[in-house]
Subunit: 298 residues, 4 copies
């Protein structure tokens, strides 16, 4: 017999920009919000009966209305607020997932109302709420880093298809995609209710980001796997509120160009930055007493 | 204590093109191969000891060498062949995942050696092998379809944030991303060994694709969820070798433009095709007796 | 003294989809329209006086309203209609440029109302109108083609930086971007007025496209430049209404993989498809009596 | 008769990274170089005779070899060096165009060898050389800026298709693409020969960039055209070495969301950031005594 399995639906990539105009020094929040709901949705799939469906259009409207009603502080609080609202207000919605990307802006030329987008790096979070427990994964993507030295690669397996020479000094470059899970169940999205102390999400984010950067810079690397582990372990060591880190690190190869045909040496100076293929190193670092993740990573 | 969790590594996006030159009517296979290995990799993460590491460069070389040695028939067979090779030849490699994308080409102007890329649609597969069992998920992405009628949307929840009017006739458009799991453990990648009958992957793919297209065209849609279920169910009904289908369907909104300010009606004729936000409908359809998926979807 | 130079403004990427519902066999036009106007616009630049500015929002509205009022046949006619309207209706607008991209769809599964996007190839046109003369450039982009043989490359300059070996047989692959200029001033956009015979744009487009494909397939290539010229010359030879062709052909390198380290030969079978860098061959082919282009290529 | 018109060929997107290792504080240059040559190339197009062709592969090799031999200072010097080399060393090459993009990096965590990519903004230059005169256009792209106030839009034409209300306060946002032409013929690429004083390209770039940012922040905007002119004029006023500026400014619309259906006002707080369509404002600002541009903008 054919049956319905796991499913969810929502509105993806709701682009909301909120301006706070306290005097002349305005503040800007620039988000990309995606919502996903699931619950008692068998009928809509099997018969097209929509009576349990909160439309994706209404989900979008809620994001804009909440931006006005509640403001937007840390994206994690906004995500939790939305996730709780959808589940608590709709009997047919049993679980909500709210993912937010935040784009950073800096002040332009000292002006209070003019801004410049800062960089390609994006801050992320994913909140889950199921009516009783909330879960929070934070992260970033497109943080592009490169070490010009302190990276070697040798002692690896040599099979019949291995031609790579060992190297004692290479460029190590990657675009960090990292996500980290908070151990505690966050209290209410507004920070007002709930039994546990509220998290200072901005401070926690900044600590985790700095840990990633410091570990990348400070690790003498024998492999990108070793660097990955060092980065994850540093986040956990520096941030007691975080219990698990997942990293996806493309190895952006920089090949030393052979200039011998032109009568030139190349003492680790001139590199070709390659696109594809690239190595892809993925791994998880966690506390051995991390609580169960539940749906946090879905 | 901080510990290492699940991890894998490999070479992503190895672009291989293979030409078969039997007489004047050449044949072309155009693939994008990504390999991922895991196993006894604790040391490389914890100490940078690479003695268990088959380099991603060797993985790449293997793809090219196998394309020459074994040729490339169905991408599923090539993926299984590679996955088995990595696990069977390296004691430290316990599991392999090989994902392949295939780009289609048609003959150009009746020529035996000239080809035109056909469309944005991409055929995909992901093979897993762990030393005993192999698993296969096939699929496609970027199959863009649109119905101009036979789609309504009404009877949904009206909460305080619902402004969407009900509609009895709308455009329904999506870019299909579908993956389907084969029930049987595939035999050896070469088709030579193994206890079960080999699958005709090309025939199975064509059946699944036709089922998706026919169900999209033929379903009177009360919601995209209903269409999703109909598409998945049709694949399973038409392809007995497939036990589970996962679909991700962005709802590419086409808004009827209000032309009243210009003294014009708009009887379902002129639409604005929107980019973001979009609805996103995700769901699984499966046989109730589908065997456990194991790592097939990872 | 600082002065204002050439300028234009408009609305870019207006996505309009039009459905024609004659009985059960619907017809679908899917366009991306960009408008650009120029004229007596000094004041808006110098003082912010907008009294000469037809808003880009009104330009967008006009596109949608005209899609309803006039329908959409060939994109060239629709572009001319719009260009003429903007210039003829606004005294401050002296010149209009309307560029349109068209995305192709095929019928799905024999259905009259279900469609599948066909391919990555895009049909294009750019119409110019200045109050007296109209000009038309048509074209296409992302037509990806590949020859598996009949391409050599030798006899080139060998300077101190040349290491490329000569080759008697290589893969030749490119993504064709082509534009062709029509010699005649097109009559009115509606095809109704104007002194010259109306062009059958669809037929002309199909002829030019077939000429490009046939020349690519049929030319024994000693260089991509030679193939470019053959393609342009074939368009002009086959289409008397076209006086000039411009081609931009990236040389998508396919490198024969050296499999000797693995004890394998590679008799023109297994290739690596490279991303960057790529060759880029650009050229113009025209009739020696082509009329002046004026602003046609801007 | 069918004839060959303007043409050029080269290697596009040569990715070169150069590390300078003076002690512990390394320096990093990360470039994307595209070369284009033209000259006595009729035969290669007409007959496939390649005897005048310096291969695109040799052009690529030259970029890497010159990075080693001459180092890379300002990208403008490197572009001129390459352009002069191609023309001066090959009789068949009469004109060279070298375009370079530079990606910026910052130091990571105070380390001398660890770097972080800074932003999406890209510095650009295009050098032309024809055997006697060199020309230089510098610029940037993807500089994303936004003003939260001091932007109005009113007093525009109201035709039958105008529905846009006038506004006294709106968000103004754009992604600046700017190019500016240097008046003087640059001396030799190495800065050693030539009759005119060498330009301090880095300083000139920084001045132009600051002028763009300051003018965007400081202009009370009645239209994006007015802001465009102010930005171009400021560059020319602040940089006497620059004679012409071309700007392409997409108007990235931010729509104030109507929250009235939810019983909420929206006093310029919550905006929808739209993708398409977007306004596109293009314009040139120049000195009235700017020397002829020649091929500088091609």
């Amino acid at each position: 017999m054919i049956v319905l399995g796991p499913n969810r639906y929502g509105k993806a990539e709701i682009r909301v920009v909120r301006v706070t105009r306290n005097g002349d020094a305005h503040r800007l929040k620039d988000l990309n919000v995606s919502t996903s709901l699931s619950g008692a949705m068998d009928d809509v799939h099997l018969t097209g009966d929509n009576s349990a469906v909160l439309t994706t259009d209404a989900q979008k409207n809620t994001v804009y209305a909440f931006a006005r009603k509640h403001g937007i502080g840390a994206i994690e609080d906004f995500a939790l607020l939305l996730a709780r609202h959808f589940v608590d207000s709709q009997p047919s919605v049993h679980r909500a997932r709210v993912a937010i990307e935040e784009y950073a802006w800096e002040r332009n030329a000292g002006s209070g109302h003019s801004f410049v987008r800062s960089g390609g790096e994006v801050r992320t979070c994913v909140a889950h709420y199921d009516g009783s427990a909330a879960r929070m994964v934070c992260g970033l993507r497109d943080l592009v880093v490169l070490n010009t030295t302190n990276s070697e690669f040798r002692g690896f397996v040599k099979d019949a298809y291995t031609t790579l020479p060992e190297t004692g000094d290479r460029i190590l470059a990657t675009a960090v995609e990292a996500s980290w899970r908070h151990a505690a169940t966050p209290p209410g999205g507004t920070g007002a209710e709930g039994g546990e102390a509220p998290t200072d999400w901005d401070k926690s984010y900044e600590s985790a980001r700095q840990a990633l950067l410091a570990a990348f810079a400070g690790t003498y690397s024998r492999s990108l796997q070793q660097t990955l582990y060092a980065m994850g372990a540093r986040v956990i060591a520096d941030c007691p509120e975080i219990c698990e880190v997942r990293l996806s690190l493309p190895n952006r190869h920089h090949f030393l160009v052979d200039l011998a045909p032109f009568g030139l040496d190349n003492p680790d100076e001139v590199y070709l930055a390659a696109d594809r293929p690239y190595g892809l190193i993925e791994g998880t670092v966690l506390r051995d007493d991390a609580p169960p993740a539940g749906p946090a990573w879905e």
